[in-house]
Point group: C2
Chain length 255, copies 2
């Protein structure tokens, strides 16, 4: 494995251990935009830790992170970091949250890491190489599977999302599940545990790493008007990440 | 710990190991009532294994199980078994499924076990003793927490469930999550990871073990017209399992 990927995996593992340790103490919670948009001292400290570790090794590179460490040096190298995706899960459940780290060079994805801390599942996607779960290569996703034989992740019945009614939607796929960490859900689509993830509000740092994992496993996606473009400078309003084009296009037709 | 609880935990662990082993081979899937109501050879073999182990040790006791091992000897002792709760998860995700075993004597709950196999989380509730997760006692649930400060498990926006619209419901609690194994979700309410589980279609074997775990952690519930009664001979149409009466009663008021 490339040296930079190895390095980033080690940093993420260490950040995960620190989170587990901090979880034993009192977590300080602040509201950001609403009672379901929260941030904690653990999010902030984890982000600062990861950024510092990367800066220590690589001087003068760019950062785009959830908790506002925006640090642009005009470098060709960009790190996109979400210290805790699924902060509500972290606070209430103490599980089902993840650390995301993505590395881009001149706008092109190099690798992405999503670490489901409590499940100890390390998903890694490396452009041109493939995707891995705890070091084991993920098989390529079934490109012929239809939506009717699929499980969907996400809050699919939100009335502001699909134009189909819940009753109509229900007939289109086997069932749905909703964990509340987009990064985990997209990485798990990459691992074949569901065939799509749909969500109406998403930020770049939620998806930048996970989409690399999905792509290298053979998956595809849609957001806004774009198909199959890994964006790092937009916050798409809706995202549909899918195991193949049939699943994606059928879901897109319901928007 | 009582000898019978220890025995049952050992049987469940062994059943879990067998499932992990069988997962490596081809799983044979059959539809029961619909494409989301499935059963596999692994469900059936796991049930047969657990029943045989119990029969080997305790002669002439009664059984009520998901996969139809109904064996009534007029005994005062009843075992309620769900070999795999979350069969769809088992087939599609290879995670988020559980084994449930409950033991009742003269209609009264003695103990309940819910084992989340892939997470290796063994939840045990023993009447009059308390509830445990992997051997550690679960703390008593907060009896003052309100619905407005709660996370809810379940497919909450199903139109056949609450009379509130999704937009109205959204304002009532922090957020919802949906894993698709009622036994795990109720046991996790007992562990304080969410404050309620709501579901409109439930069978006795889905809840018989999990409710004992919830009860011994201080939780409560509602189904049909009954509150706080552990039933073993009914299939309630709706269930609301909650960490306390405030959360339960507020949710009941939306039915």
């Amino acid at each position: 494995m490339q040296e930079n990927v190895k390095f980033a995996i080690d940093v993420v593992y260490e950040a995960g251990k620190r989170i587990c340790h901090m979880m034993q103490e009192d977590i300080k919670v602040e509201e950001k935009t609403s009672k379901s948009d929260l941030v904690t001292n653990v999010d902030k400290q984890t982000e600062a830790f990861i950024v510092a570790k990367i800066q220590e090794r690589y001087e003068g590179q760019n950062f785009l992170t959830e908790e506002s460490t925006v640090d642009m040096h005009g470098s060709d190298h960009l790190w996109i970091i979400d210290p805790i995706d699924g902060t509500t899960n972290f606070i209430y459940q103490k599980q089902h949250f993840s650390i995301s780290v993505a590395h881009y060079h001149q706008g092109e994805p190099i690798f992405g890491i999503v670490y489901n801390v409590m499940a100890d599942e390390m998903f890694v996607g490396i452009t041109g190489v493939g995707s891995f779960l705890n070091g084991e290569r993920l098989p390529q996703l079934n490109q012929d599977q239809l939506l009717s034989d699929s499980v969907i992740f996400g809050d699919v019945y939100r009335p502001d999302f699909f134009k189909l009614s819940p009753a109509e939607l229900k007939k289109e796929f086997i069932t749905h599940r909703f964990y509340g960490s987009g990064a985990i859900e997209i990485a798990e689509v990459g691992a074949g545990r569901a065939q799509a993830y749909v969500f109406p509000k998403i930020k770049t740092w939620d998806i930048a790493a996970a989409l690399i994992i999905l792509k290298e496993a053979g998956g595809t996606w849609y957001f806004g008007n774009e198909i199959d473009h890994l964006t790092i400078d937009k916050n798409p309003k809706v995202i549909i990440a899918a195991s193949n084009q049939y699943v994606r296009d059928r879901l897109v037709s319901f928007l």
